[in-house]
Amino acid sequence: MPLSQLTTHTLLSLGKHPLSGRTRRAEQDAKAFELAAKLGQCLGLHAGNYQDADALKSFAGMSIAPVCILEIEQSSDPVAALSAYFKQTKSDIILTGSQAERGESSGMLPYLLGKSLDLPVINQVCEVEQTETGLNITQALPRGARRALSVKPPCILIIDESAPEARQTAYGAAMRAEVGKLQGYNEADTDAANFNFEDARKKPKRMKKIKAKTAADRFKAATVSQAKGGQVIEPKTSQEGAEAILKLLKEEGLVKTN
């Protein structure tokens, strides 16, 4: 398939800063948009309220592609809306982040969309390259491992954290941008109507004691390896290994000794 004929959609959502809670461009979606920049004709698509148009300009300010809002009601199901849209509008590639920063944040959207459109879904994508016949995709596996895939569009790609950083939003370009509007895709979300939302709780974290008084001390603390003690054990039997682990857990106070 020649390069110019590919059409790409990037699904964009509004993010929420983890500390201040302020609205921002969702980080992963921005990375997805960044990858889309080199994949033919692209459109940034957000299923939601048109009131968020100003906030979405932070995507438009990346000057990658126009941004459009698929207008739906608060109670509507974005998957249904998107699926209806993509049934009408052909798209070779749909790029998404892996999880929204607000709302249900279930990470299910790309899979549900894939199911409804009957498209293959590839997750953990950190690099995409266009070839004569399709796409060369690099998938990020745990511990820095990478897997090369070759995929024939149409498909849905879910971005991995390790995808290249998104470019900066340019204020001027964002202000000048006009966010498009698409209507007529409302479909009630029957599942969500019964959901009960409550704030997530943070797992408590162990505190680190910082003794450094001067910048130089802190510099030292940050650069000099902190590893102290510890030993490499090569257990002969599984019993021996398990005992060593248990001992350490007891020392760290993570397992109570009776």
Binding site: Q168, A170, M175, T214, A216
Partner: protein, 660 residues
């Protein structure tokens, strides 16, 4: 035949070059006018030129006594001679009397020209060569040939003392001189500086810089322009985007390189040379006009400029500057320390120009380099550059029991904490300041978590939008409360709140902590022991010293603590930056050396054991230099060490008292 033509030869040459001067002048003015509007009242500007030359400009030139005397003789001699030449040769007015006067002024110019020539025998590297090496010859040939030709004209010697051959030769020399002095002045030779420079003094974009004024705050950008006019851009992309009188200023550069010799980034081998920045813009705007300016730069290049040759810099009035004329690394190396501006005899505003171009890169291109993008994102999301939780700003003071403006509503001193509140080094200074305020029984309070970054960093990174958001938010918070003054230990906040919030509607009395503490000490409310041990030197923060003229208070405090005080070679208005301003540590452009290392070398040269600082950024930068090095202490910390606590109970009481 020849004999009858000869007497009219010189007047003809004078009129010819004068006409060319006029045509060139019109062309130059039209070139500057391609810049953006920036109205300056015409007649007051013209009227201001001479007083500003005599006071302000001469004051700067005088730092180099040699050249100031030389300049007075040469320039004064030339202007006077030119007027007299027109009167005597063109209008034939009283050649006997005016001719003798002309001889005197030419002699003065000749003496000056000889000193110019002497400076050029072995010129320091900061001076440009090329046509500038020709200038003394032109000056001498102008003054000498006119002098000899005027001898008979003024009746000192007989009218036909010279044969026609000699007259023709002398006329040729005067023509050479006239060409340099008049034609070159408006068509792009070294003498251009006189024409553009004089007008720049009058039409300077910062009118309040003169007469002892200090105009150092950046000017606000109209952020709504792109919404109103889709073609309008934020910041400067091409030479024509500068204000017309900025272009005029760049054209006035005499390539003296004083800026270069003061620039910390240049000295550190980073790819920045303020003189070259100005010349690059000049090459861009005038190359179509001046046949001679194409790659016409004979000064020091940018250090470390990865393979980019001077002659590769090409541009146009309407072509993008960055990556044509100037590499982005050049713009991002600047610490905005203003050492160049302070030193420039032509009153050129390098920092304004650099920030204007940064604004375009950040606001229109989204190309803030290094950690800049991250810092801007953090400022947008958390109101502090490091992305700390904005509700943790007051955590440092958990044990301080500080009164909050939110509770007290009204106080005498509002202590502005700055982002030092998030930094352990800065917190030590803040604690010291609090202790001092308490010991002097000053009624004060803080904004606590309501405080936001002052916007300094965002603004220097070119992100005017974030600056204005932060500034407006801070102004709105401050508006709810009553206080007599703001006191801060951060010169950047001090400068921004004091000098840059005004344009957005926030007018405050802001004092730096050293100024305030000095007042307290002088009025006897702060009791200090005068036995400070060890040799102490003081590093002037750029944003306190050069930006705001406060050199005295910190020194006076050190002296009242009995410090064995030594000055570094570069101190006061010539102080060398610590490298921490203008977001330079964030953009982090590599060089051969680090600026803070050089500053510590300056301090080591004095043998000081303590470097007193007055800025959290300076403290961080200088303390980041590897040991052994002098100890870095904020003046507030030194004051606390020297504090005489008279009565513990007394000092803990929060009785309000008057401060003046």
């Amino acid at each position: 035949m020849l004999n009858s033509l000869l007497p009219s030869l010189l007047p003809f040459l004078v009129v010819l070059t004068l006409s060319l001067w006029v045509i060139g002048a019109i062309r130059r003015v039209n070139m500057w006018r391609q810049g953006q509007d920036n109205p300056v009242a015409f007649f007051p500007a013209i009227k201001a030129i001479i007083p500003r030359y005599l006071n302000d400009l001469h004051h700067v030139v005088e730092r180099d006594k040699y050249i100031s005397n030389t300049h007075v003789a040469t320039a004064g001699g030339f202007v006077l001679s030119m007027v007299l030449i027109i009167l005597v040769y063109v209008f034939g007015l009283a050649p006997e009397i005016l001719g003798k006067l002309l001889l005197a002024s030419l002699a003065m110019m000749f003496v000056g020209a000889c000193f110019v020539a002497k400076r050029r025998i072995n010129p320091p590297s900061r001076l440009s060569k090329g046509p500038w090496m020709r200038l003394p010859k032109s000056l001498i040939s102008f003054s000498l040939s006119f002098f000899i030709l005027t001898l008979p004209a003024s009746g000192v010697i007989s009218a036909d003392a010279f044969g026609w051959v000699l007259v023709v030769i002398l006329s040729a020399f005067s023509f050479m001189g006239l060409t340099e002095m008049l034609f070159g002045m408006t068509w792009g030779g070294p003498m251009k500086h006189a024409f553009a420079g004089a007008l720049h003094l009058g039409f300077h974009p910062r009118q309040d810089r003169f007469n002892g004024g200090r105009s150092t705050g950046l000017k606000a950008l109209d952020l709504n322009r792109p919404m109103v006019d889709k073609d309008a851009k934020l910041g400067v992309e091409m030479p024509a985007d500068f204000k017309w009188n900025q272009l005029l200023g760049f054209d006035a550069c005499v390539q003296c390189g004083r800026c270069e010799s003061m620039c910390p980034a240049f000295a550190a081998g980073q790819p920045l040379n303020p003189k070259k920045v100005i010349q690059d813009i000049v090459i861009g705007m005038s190359h179509a006009q001046d046949a001679t300016t194409e790659a016409n730069y004979y000064g020091s290049p940018y250090p470390e400029n990865q393979g980019v040759e001077v002659k590769d810099h090409k541009g146009d009035m309407h072509q993008p500057i960055v990556n044509g004329l100037i590499e982005p690394e050049t713009l991002w190396s600047c610490t905005t320390c203003r050492a160049c501006v302070e030193e420039c005899p032509m009153f050129i505003e390098h920092v304004d120009a650099i920030v204007d171009m940064r604004r375009f890169l950040t606001l229109e291109k989204g190309q803030t380099p290094g950690q800049g993008t991250q810092v801007i994102d953090n400022l947008i999301a958390t109101d502090n550059p490091n992305g700390y939780n904005p509700t943790h700003r007051m955590n440092w003071a958990a044990d301080q029991n500080l009164p909050l403006m939110k509770d007290v509503k009204r106080t005498q001193v509002l202590l502005w904490m700055g982002d030092a509140a998030f930094d352990m080094r800065g917190q030590r200074t803040l604690r010291a300041v609090v202790k001092l305020l308490r010991s002097a029984n000053v009624e004060f309070a803080v904004l606590g978590n309501e405080e936001k970054d002052s916007g300094d960093l965002a603004r220097r990174l070119g992100d005017e939008a974030t600056f204005q958001r932060l500034a407006n938010a801070n102004i709105a918070t401050l508006r709810q409360y009553h206080f007599d003054m703001i006191v801060t230990a951060d010169p950047h906040s001090f400068h921004v709140i004091g000098n840059e919030y005004g344009e957005l509607g926030g007018q405050y009395k802001v004092l730096h902590h050293t100024t305030f503490m000095n007042e307290l000490s002088e009025s006897g409310r702060l009791h200090l022991k005068d036995d400070l041990r060890g040799k102490v030197t003081y590093h002037d923060p750029c944003y306190l010293g050069r930006y705001n003229g406060e050199f005295e208070a910190p020194r006076s405090l050190l002296k009242s603590m009995g410090a064995d005080f030594v000055e570094m070679e570069r101190s006061n208005f010539r102080s060398r930056c610590c490298g921490g301003g203008g977001a330079a540590p964030i953009t982090d452009i590599p060089g051969e050396k680090r600026i803070p290392d050089m500053r510590i070398d300056d301090a080591n040269a004095t043998g000081a054991e303590i470097v007193a600082v007055a800025c959290p950024q300076c403290a961080l930068m200088l303390e980041g230099v590897v040991t052994p090095r002098p100890e870095i202490k904020d003046i507030a910390e030194l004051l606390v060490e020297q504090l005489v606590i008279q009565d513990a109970a007394e000092s803990n009481k929060q009785t309000p008292a008057e401060v003046h």
